[in-house]
């Protein structure tokens, strides 16, 4: 079974809060999380925040409850697009995820043709559940938008993520699978929305750099480390090797 992933943790400059959110996610059972950086293209002169190197956050990543491996942290960029480009986004943009904004009632209904085109290309639709926790009006919009999305896409290619800013806004993976039932997904689809579909999104993002999955690039730093190790060998050991 694929692991549980939460692909939307809002980036905050407060390092401690980010650390506590990731620790809570590990404790709840998520094996992978992604930190989300949002860019709004309509605002002029906005600098794209540089994604922080993941290793700067923790010295040792917290262990995922129930498994012996530490949690894996990814980075993700979100670009806010204007309304008329919705149709274009589904068909042509080279993206992995299309976020369904839940902060306002959608003025348009999802049309079947761009949604099906997006599904064929392997693009996923994302629904975020934290607004539903904060505010009751948001809750209505989230559920309304989710249900209308499910009617057009029939439950395929959907992922559910949190948009957590604080550690108390995260929920466990089985709780989210249950929320999927509320949104109109079937039971199997609900569980897939946080496990297999998220993993598919991750792979889709990785293979974008690789020309349809054929070419794979890797950082080459092996010769340097070998040389450094040779230097660090203490003189007494080196002497032993030579004599033998």
């Amino acid at each position: 079974m694929a692991v549980f992933m939460d692909l939307n943790i809002t980036y905050t400059t407060d390092k401690k809060r980010l650390q506590s959110v990731i620790e809570t996610a590990a404790h709840l059972g998520y094996s992978t999380v992604a930190i989300n950086y949002v860019v709004d293209l309509q605002q002029k002169k906005q600098e794209i925040g540089k994604p922080k190197c993941v290793l700067e956050l923790f010295d040792t990543f917290p262990m995922v409850q129930g498994k012996s491996r530490p949690i894996k942290v990814l980075n993700r960029l979100t670009v806010v697009a204007s309304d008329p480009s919705h149709f274009a986004a589904c068909m042509t943009f080279d993206v992995d995820i299309i976020c369904v904004a839940v902060t306002e009632k959608q003025p348009f209904f999802f049309k079947r043709s761009p949604v099906n085109g997006a599904i064929e290309r392997g693009v996923f639709f994302e629904i975020s559940y934290t607004p539903a926790i904060r505010d009751s009006t948001m809750r209505r919009y989230t559920i309304a938008n989710a249900i209308s999305l499910m009617e057009t896409c029939k439950g395929k290619n959907v992922i559910v993520t949190s948009g957590a800013e604080k550690p108390l806004e995260l929920r466990g993976p089985y709780d989210i699978a249950n929320l999927g039932l509320l949104f109109g997904l079937s039971e199997g689809d609900g569980k897939a929305a946080i496990s297999t579909n998220c993993r598919a999104v991750h792979l889709h993002g990785e293979t974008r750099k690789t020309a349809l999955g054929i070419v794979h690039t890797m950082k080459k730093d092996q010769p340097l480390t070998v040389r450094q190790e040779e230097e660090h060998v203490p003189p007494s050991k080196r002497a032993k090797i030579e004599t033998v």
Partner: protein, 129 residues
Amino acid sequence: MRRADIKDEPATYERLVYKNTSVYHYMRISLVLENESATLSAAQLKQLIVSGLRDLYGEVGGAFPFDLLKFDESTLTGVLRVYNSGLVKLWSALTLLGSYQEELCFFRVTQVSPFLLTLSGNSRELELD
């Protein structure tokens, strides 16, 4: 070769299939509050859950019967019992409950099972000597 005088009796068996023996589902939950020193009584917790159900599902949903079987005030953990038809409603109401008396809180559902006995053990916390 069969002997003519011995008649074969057809083998009889009776098969009982229980689709779902348990009428209830039990959930072990724990409440995590932002203000770590605050505590609730059992009645306050039940009131909180009922208000969460009512916010999400209205008066009809808020009237759905469920029981708080055990509640430990020091650790804020408890066991809830609900009819099978109400499990999804109760679980989603607990998930979407965000605040208690203007403070952030969240319910962590540790175990869900149709049988009460399974809530007593957790294979992840087994200690093998």
